[in-house]
């Protein structure tokens, strides 16, 4: 039951079918990667699971620990334990990182979090991710570099400790040093109590976050799954051979 289970999921945007029967099982304790060319529907999968209203579910199911998440509101899905690290994190002018994360934590518990304990854990996680303390008072994502935005997403994930995480192209915009720090942050969160889905179209990230399984996504569905060596093969040979395999009915 400790699993994110997606079965035959179909999703439309503006009446256009983007996901056409996607299935994926992510058990807790594992890290899976989804790779696929641009425009294939990877972000669509992430946002549809998170409950974004522009994404119309036309078929299939998605459950988290047995609970139907497609019936829930965005915030209910989040509080049920699904976290999405955005490909394009959104700016919230005037709202500081510290207040934002605190509000997110408070939304999950009856009693408001103790301020001293909160700052202690926030500073610890920031140090871990190499984020300067003065970021706490900066507005969420406003004027951040690409890399700062991504680190900040991982900071939120580390503070909220969700059961299932989807990281949408968290590697894009990062140089190698930043990539290592972020990967280290993610690796520290690996464990029995959590399932992580890493979306990327570069194999590079997977050298640092080594996945238990790799899924190749094309034209709105998973077309091939394998272990980490599949990622290397894609890196070397591109996606065309997979297309050909499908065409040949292998």
């Amino acid at each position: 039951m400790s699993v994110l289970e997606i079965e035959n999921l179909k999703v439309n945007i503006d009446d256009k079918e983007i996901l056409n029967g996607l299935s994926l099982t992510l058990p807790k304790g594992e890290v899976h990667a989804i790779m696929g060319p641009n425009g294939t529907g990877k972000s669509t999968l992430a946002k549809a699971l998170a409950g974004h209203e522009n994404y119309e579910i036309t078929g299939g199911s998605a459950t988290m620990n047995g609970e139907d998440i497609l019936a829930l509101e965005i915030d209910e899905i989040a509080r049920a334990g699904l976290f999405l690290a955005f490909q394009y994190p959104v700016e919230i002018p005037g709202v500081s990182i510290a207040n934002f994360i605190r509000a997110a934590l408070n939304s999950r518990q009856e009693e408001d979090i103790d301020a001293v304990a909160y700052y202690k854990s926030l500073y610890a996680e920031m140090e871990n991710l190499g984020i300067d303390r003065k970021f706490t008072s900066r507005s969420v994502n406003e004027g951040f570099s690409g890399g700062e935005k991504k680190r900040c997403e991982i900071l939120q994930m580390a503070m909220l400790k969700p059961e299932f995480c989807i990281l949408d192209e968290t590697d894009s915009g990062l140089d190698v040093d930043a990539l290592k720090v972020v990967a280290e942050g993610v690796n520290q969160m690996r464990g029995e109590e959590r399932g992580i889905l890493v979306i990327t179209h570069y194999q590079r990230l997977l050298n640092y976050i080594v996945p238990d399984k790799v899924h190749i996504m094309m034209d709105g569905r998973i077309v091939k799954s394998g272990d980490k060596s599949l990622a290397l093969e894609v890196e070397e040979r591109g996606y065309d051979w997979i297309k050909e395999e499908i065409a040949a009915g292998v």
Binding site: A50, E73, I92, S107, L160
Partner: protein, 468 residues
């Protein structure tokens, strides 16, 4: 700091009223008789009676400003209001002496508690008159006067009369004329030269009666080098009928004095809030209006500063929140009359649903002046596409040696922001509220702590109520 003690003007909490026996009641409608009744009850001097009667004429002769504000003003039926209601003229100096129903009202609103926590003095007005008024003894020893305007007029006519009606002439507009005819209550403050009042003086204006008009008149004088912060909070119960609140507030800051005037009001949706507020700043003096308008059916209010002496500074920081069906027509006036005067206006408005916000500004720097500066920023935040916002900055600056800076922005809380915030676990109301608080944050940071806490709480309630 205890948030319990913060100024509390929760609209829901304020939504109650007591059946009250009034000793004095001017009846319904507005005639010479009404004005004479008020002046008789108060035992005023002849010059005040004459002043009032002249104001009544002025009120009658002036048109409603519906050509630039809103036709909704035409729905005010001046014959249906009660213009004076009180239980007596003498405010008590201890809460024990305040009549039970009135005392209970202010206790429910948390006033005595705030007084103990952080205030230097409190005046609590119930309908037309102050029911309670008290200031810390050490301030009285320094010569500070803080009483209701009725008392001020009676006991300190030599100071009162000198400044009364000088900053805002009776005929300034229709509502200042109305106030001048029937004014009652409000505060009178005098701070002697060099005295700096450290904690705020606070007034709380409470409307209890239905079909009632509250017309408080406040006059604050900071003598040379004096400093004072004054804070007003207001509430009224939610009645089916309309309520009218039409105050006149005059501030006088003599050479080198500083006055900070803070308003946090949260009127229920039946209140017409039509207020005239202006300050006069002499040489090197500073007047700062912090004006937060939440609620009401229609608010028209443009706090201003006349920068009369060299080096005078004027500032208006305002936040207006127009919920569904409400109209906030607010702004600022800065009249530069001397060299090296500076003014700063930062106005932020939030419009929700059918709510409408208008910024109306006037900055005037004549040609012969040198070294004057104005900065005006108006930012509007729209929450859902039905909301409206208009900006009329009206800046007239002449002369090469003067500078103005004007920026205006309109932004929306967009669906992607709400999605992002909700993805972190906040419900829709909390997400909206966080975005709105973010929008006003840089302004609110400049407010004293107690008021920024209260404002945040009011915004939270307003936003959570605005999503179904």
């Amino acid at each position: 700091m205890s948030t319990e003690a913060a100024i509390d003007i929760d609209r829901e909490k304020g939504n109650f009223s007591y059946d009250t026996e009034y000793e004095y009641n001017a009846g319904i409608g507005l005639t010479e008789e009404t004005v004479n009744y008020i002046t008789d009850v108060k035992g005023e001097d002849d010059w005040v009676r004459a002043f009032r009667l002249k104001a009544l004429e002025s009120f009658r002769s002036k048109p409603l400003p519906t050509h630039w504000a809103t036709k909704d003003l035409e729905n005010i039926d001046f014959d249906k209001f009660r213009y004076y209601l009180s239980k007596g003229q003498q405010p008590s100096r201890t809460w024990d002496d305040v009549p039970d129903d009135v005392k209970e009202t202010f206790e429910r609103l948390g006033i005595p508690e705030q007084e103990r926590a952080f205030l230097a003095g409190v005046e609590a007005q119930f309908d037309s008159e102050a029911a309670y008024s008290r200031m810390k003894d050490d301030l009285a020893k320094e010569g500070v006067i803080f009483v209701g305007s009725t008392e001020g007029l009676k006991d300190h006519p030599e100071i009162f009369r000198k400044f009364f009606g000088k900053v805002i002439p009776t005929g300034d507009n229709k509502f200042s004329a109305l106030n001048s005819a029937v004014f009652s209550g409000g505060s009178f403050i005098y701070v002697p030269p060099g005295v700096k009042v450290k904690q705020p003086l606070q007034a709380y204006f409470r409307i209890n009666a239905e079909n009632f008009g509250q017309f408080e008149r406040t006059l604050i004088i900071a003598d040379e080098g004096a400093e004072v912060t004054y804070m007003e909070g207001c509430t009224a119960p939610k009645f089916e009928t309309t309520t009218l609140h039409s105050a006149v507030v005059e501030l006088v800051a003599l050479k080198g004095a500083k006055i900070q005037y803070i308003t946090v009001q949260n009127w229920s949706a039946n209140v017409f809030n039509l207020v005239t507020k202006r300050g006069l700043a002499e040489e090197d003096a500073e007047i700062k209006w912090i004006d937060c308008n939440i609620g009401s059916r229609l608010t028209m209010k443009y706090p201003g500063v006349i920068l009369k002496g060299r080096g005078a500074r004027g500032e208006v920081l305002s936040i207006a929140l127009a919920g569904d069906g409400q109209h906030q027509d607010t702004g600022a006036k800065m009249i530069h009359m001397a060299d090296n005067t500076t003014s700063n206006i930062i106005a932020k408005s939030i419009s929700i649903g059918e709510g409408q916000s208008t910024y109306r500004g006037q900055v005037h720097i004549p040609k012969h002046l040198k070294g004057c500066r104005n900065n005006t920023e108006c930012d509007a935040l729209l929450i859902n596409t039905n909301s409206r916002t208009d900006t009329y900055p009206a800046i007239t600056v002449r002369g090469d040696d003067n500078s103005v800076q004007h920026e205006a922005s309109v932004s929306k809380v967009n669906a992607e922001q709400i999605f992002y915030l909700m993805q972190r676990g906040l419900n829709e109301g909390e997400a909206m509220s966080l975005a709105v608080n973010g929008f006003v944050n840089d302004l609110v940071k400049q407010f004293p702590m107690e008021y920024s806490v209260e404002l945040k709480r009011l915004i939270d309630m307003e936003m959570e109520g605005s999503v179904g």
